[in-house]
Symmetry: C2
Subunit: 78 residues, 2 copies
DNA sequence: TTGTGACTTGTAGTCCGTG
DNA sequence: GCACGGACTACAAGTCACA
């Protein structure tokens, strides 16, 4: 009866997507501007935020760098 | 002149590999036993530990679960 | 017990659009 | 600005034989 770490029963992709969306919005950037700033395709970023993709470590790192936070902080509360 | 834990110039794959190797060894399990426990191929785990792979979120999560730590803790100091 | 190269299959990731 | 889709290409996933 515990809920391992994070929000509800959303899967890890959805949780991750919501997390980066929240952090991106806090920067005031659009998906397109943010994606551009980290050299990532805009539609790919959108699908990650939607929880539809399973991004690999290098891209996760890229996002963390773009958000200017550590990987550990990126995964906080997940 | 010491490097405080994480940064270095190893790439993220190598850092991640070393990190999970360290944590796995702390559990006292062999690659084979640990891989088995998380339903992952032993040679695939070995190549991740060696920093030769770029694992995706689902597999990263699988490893964190197997180590019984949060993703945030898994990435601590990385 | 672990490392590695080679391989096939599935999907990560890119690029072009649309409402 | 965003969600969504089609059609691709690059590479992760997963497995094996052997060192």
């Amino acid at each position: 009866m515990f809920n391992h770490g994070g929000g509800l029963h959303l899967n890890i992709q959805k949780e991750f997507g919501l997390r980066i969306q929240q952090l991106r919005k806090a920067t005031g950037k659009s998906q397109e501007k943010f994606a551009l700033s980290i050299d990532m395709d805009r539609t790919y970023l959108a699908s990650i935020e939607a929880g539809k993709r399973n991004p690999a470590l290098q891209n996760i790192k890229k996002i963390a760098d773009g958000l200017e936070i550590s990987l550990s902080d990126l995964f906080r509360d997940l």
